[in-house]
């Protein structure tokens, strides 16, 4: 262990003294406050905070990723190329200990830098409202929709299979099925139509969502929604009457012990909006209903897009969520450190850097990459699914575990989500990569061939 630690310390010294880490650190220390001052977002406080956190965290994460790749590769390849490894490896240290020492050093350095920068970002974020003169309602908005960590109630899937099957049979019976179209395609179309119908409210109609097993909450809940309309009204705004409360009250008209929320709002279309609802409306049995009524004032049908309605509640504080977001970045860095070590165990510095950058950028867009391969032609698709697909699956999904995706809309990063990321990215993928690099490094010849 002492030798691993000695190598780790040496790696940290190297990173600092060859000034790579210093350059990155200074860059960030300058850039972060500048970002804090210059970002304006959509001119509201919330927008400003969101933009700052999003940019600052992405920038920090990106620069630290580059730093990790560079340091982890350089610390191994420079030892081999400049031959310091001759004197190190002939001391009582096993090769795997040397590699673990390097990795450990890179991770420790990363952790320190990440702590430093996230502390800066957090401080700027927290103090930003105090330095900017904003109206009271913007402060409240920021507190409700940014300085929090909210989870959403699960919107139950609307099951339309039966409807669709019935409709298909009916069409079939009437002989109205289009010719030359396979059954699956018709079913898909019918399903889409049926689902759309479930999300659309004609004038005077009511849409109802129900949420089961809702626990009683301490703080208010929020309905977040977006309207779509077939024809935009002149001022692009529509009225909506919103209800929330005991499900049985709405469904069966039974007397409700808890209050029922019932208010009229006017909101612009095609934007997300939130309505705050008192926590008391949640009934004791936990079966909550939220209903929307398209009031006759509108004179237009209103459709909720597929992700157009959510019921949010505060699940944790902003601070805790921020810590978990930083941990997500740390997992990413650990993975990259392992990747860098692997590349360095058999490639020279420039090639290893290139290799890691390719992996890094692919992993950053892995969702897009995986999706785009789904549209391959039949023949190539078969080849792909047996070869490249597995390799791409092995990539970490940086975009899926992107912390800004959660912090900007103040979404809860749950511990289970964090654990999933840790298991997938660190315990499985990074670990496999590390094992592979240890094997390669243990069996390769250290010395260069010179005769």
């Amino acid at each position: 262990m002492h030798s691993i630690w000695a190598v780790a310390i040496n790696t940290i010294k190297q990173a600092l003294r060859i000034k790579v880490a210093v350059v990155f650190t200074i860059l960030l220390i300058v850039l972060l406050p500048v970002l804090g001052i210059t970002t304006t977002g959509d001119e509201t406080l919330k927008g400003r905070l969101q933009t700052f956190v999003s940019y600052a965290l992405s920038l920090t994460s990106f620069l630290l990723c580059l730093l990790t790749i560079i340091i982890s590769i350089y610390s191994v390849t420079s030892d081999i190329e400049q031959k310091q490894i001759y004197t190190v490896i002939t001391k009582p240290i096993r090769r795997f200990q040397l590699i673990l020492g390097k990795l450990f050093g890179v991770i420790v350095l990363n952790t320190i830098l990440l702590c430093l920068f996230s502390a800066i970002i957090y401080t700027i974020t927290i103090y930003m409202p105090k330095f900017i003169n904003v109206p009271e309602y913007e402060l409240i908005e920021a507190n409700n929709e940014f300085f929090t960590a909210r989870a959403s109630l699960n919107v139950p899937e609307v099951d339309v299979t039966r409807e669709v099957t019935d409709r298909y049979k009916e069409l079939d019976r009437r002989g109205e099925l289009p010719a030359n179209v396979p059954r699956e395609e018709i079913i898909t179309q019918l399903t889409q139509q049926a689902q759309l119908a479930k999300r659309a409210a004609g004038v005077g109609q009511v849409l109802l969502w129900d949420f089961d097993n809702v626990e009683s909450l301490a703080e208010n809940i929020f309905i977040k929604f977006k309207y779509d309309v077939s024809v935009s009204p002149p001022d692009s705004q529509v009225y909506g009457r919103w209800f929330a409360g005991d499900y049985q009250y709405f469904k069966y008209g039974t007397q409700s012990k808890t209050p029922i929320y019932d208010e009229m709002h006017k909101h612009s279309v095609r934007d997300f909006h939130e309505i705050e609802i008192p926590a008391e409306v949640v009934p004791e049995h936990g079966h909550l209903a939220v209903a929307f009524m398209n009031v006759p004032l509108n004179n237009v049908a209103i459709i909720f897009p597929p992700d157009g309605l959510e019921v949010l509640y505060k699940a944790d504080s902003f601070g805790n969520n921020f810590i978990r977001a930083v941990l997500l970045i740390l997992f990413r860095l650990i993975f990259l450190a392992c990747l860098g070590i692997l590349a360095a165990s058999f490639l020279s510095f420039p090639v290893a850097i290139l290799f890691c950058f390719v992996i890094f950028f692919t992993a950053s867009f892995s969702g897009f990459v995986i999706e785009s391969f789904g549209f391959l032609g039949e023949n190539i698709g078969t080849i792909y699914s047996y070869s490249l697909k597995w390799l791409i699956q092995l990539l970490p999904q940086f975009d899926k575990f992107n912390p800004t995706k959660f912090l900007v809309p103040a979404r809860l990063i749950s511990w289970s989500f964090l654990a999933k990321c840790a298991v997938l990215m660190v315990c499985i993928k990074a670990f496999l990569i590390l094992i592979l690099s240890l094997i390669i490094f243990s069996y390769r010849e250290i010395a260069r061939i010179t005769v």
Partner: protein
């Protein structure tokens, strides 16, 4: 353990990318180095010396054959604990300073902080770099880097020291110092395997040599046996009168032999060292090479080192008394005893100060022929050394050289 270093048909073939044989770098090498031997591996550039060392240490995998260091695998940490290695160039971390460099290597050995610190200071003193200990080694001259390289090889007080071209880049005093160091270490029972093509250095210090060419050993044997001209005799005297010289010539002629009388020449090395020392003693300001000055510092501070080291030596630790008695054909091993004087001297010149290992070393007494050429040089060198060390070592050193057979009598330090 019969041999400190042993190879069995060690072969290294370098192939090109297609796997076609390109070069036999080392070809069926059977090398045997006995414990407590200074073994010189000689050969022209590209004869496979360094490749052999790299294979011994596990930096290269042999194509065929195997090698043993101290009876084990050269890549085994247990064996590495007892080995010091100085590569053909001192490959150092440029961003560390001299002290940090040694500290890093000390940590790899897991030396306790206290021992590590003492050894580092003693080593820095020894190699004369104490004044620049806080400078990044990237700014060091080649000779200074070499000194740090040597210090890192000695930090664990190794039983087997492998030196690849140890004197390259060093000034004459540094070279002299390394040669003395090797001799002292050998006296303490250490084994030294060194690679060089600087023949003068090898001739001065090696017991046995092997000359390699084309990856094979062309010849090997004892230096003296290989070099001694048995058909000639040499007599060295003080400055005697011409009349006496004539008498001697007369005597020689009576034996029907030729005789040549000259004043012996100083070696340039000896002369150089004497000049620099004289300058140092007069405290003349120097505009000479930095490293030269540093050696002066080291040598003038010698006494202080001695006391530190002596303290260390007298510390009562004993861990791995292996009980092995290194034996060579011309040596009578004396059980469990070391000459006191010898030990002091040693501690002076080496940083090797851990008494634990030294306890395991049973002194070996060399009964080398005294008449040969190297002997004379040694005498001269000792005088220089004595001067440099302020005369403190004179007595013990003489004793060391001349009274070795009595070593068994003296008690443990």
């Amino acid at each position: 353990m019969e041999y400190a270093v042993e190879t069995f048909s060690l072969t290294k073939i370098f192939s090109d990318w297609w796997g076609r044989t390109k070069v036999y770098a080392v070809d069926n090498l059977d090398l045997k180095v006995r414990p407590n031997e200074v073994f010189g591996l000689l050969g022209p550039n590209g004869s496979g010396k360094t490749t052999t060392l790299k294979m011994l240490l596990g930096l290269l995998h042999p194509t065929k054959g195997k090698s043993l260091l101290l009876g084990g695998d050269g890549a085994d940490p247990k064996i590495n604990c007892r080995i010091g290695f100085l590569p053909e160039e001192s490959y150092l971390y440029r961003y560390l300073n001299a002290r940090e460099t040694l500290d890093f290597y000390g940590r790899l050995f897991g030396l306790p902080a206290k021992v590590r610190k003492m050894r580092i200071e003693a080593l820095l003193d020894m190699v004369g770099l104490k004044a620049v200990a806080n400078r990044a080694v990237g700014t060091f001259s080649k000779g200074m880097a070499r000194r740090i390289g040597l210090a890192q090889a000695l930090i664990n007080d190794p039983d087997l020291l492998i030196l690849d071209e140890p004197t390259t880049g060093l000034d004459p005093i540094g070279t002299r110092q390394i040669k003395d160091l090797v001799l002292r270490l050998a006296e303490r029972g250490k084994t030294i395997l060194l690679c060089s093509h600087l023949l003068a250095d090898v001739e001065d210090i090696c017991d046995r040599i092997a000359i390699m060419y084309g990856g094979k050993i062309q010849t090997q044997g004892h230096v003296r046996e290989l070099l001694q001209q048995t058909n000639k005799r040499q007599i060295t005297t003080d400055a005697i009168s011409d009349a006496t010289v004539e008498k001697i010539k007369q005597l020689v002629r009576e034996e029907d032999a030729d005789c040549e009388v000259t004043s012996p020449m100083d070696k340039l090395e000896t002369f150089f060292i004497r000049t620099v020392t004289a300058a140092q003693q007069q405290a003349q300001p120097t505009s000479g090479a930095v490293s030269t000055t540093k050696i002066g510092d080291f040598l003038t501070q010698h006494e202080a080192v001695e006391s530190i080291l002596d303290k260390l030596v007298s510390a009562p630790i004993s861990k791995n008394a292996s009980g092995e008695i290194p034996a060579t054909e011309k040596v009578a091993a004396v059980e469990s005893a070391r000459p006191k004087a010898d030990e002091q001297l040693l501690s002076k010149l080496t940083s090797a100060s851990e008494p634990s290992e030294s306890k395991a070393v049973r002194r070996e007494i060399k009964t080398e022929p005294v008449e040969s050429q190297p002997r004379r040089q040694e005498q001269a060198r000792e005088n220089i050394l004595d001067k440099l060390t302020g005369g403190s070592g004179t007595k013990s050193q003489d004793k060391d050289k001349t009274e070795k057979p009595q070593a068994g009598d003296s008690g443990d330090a």
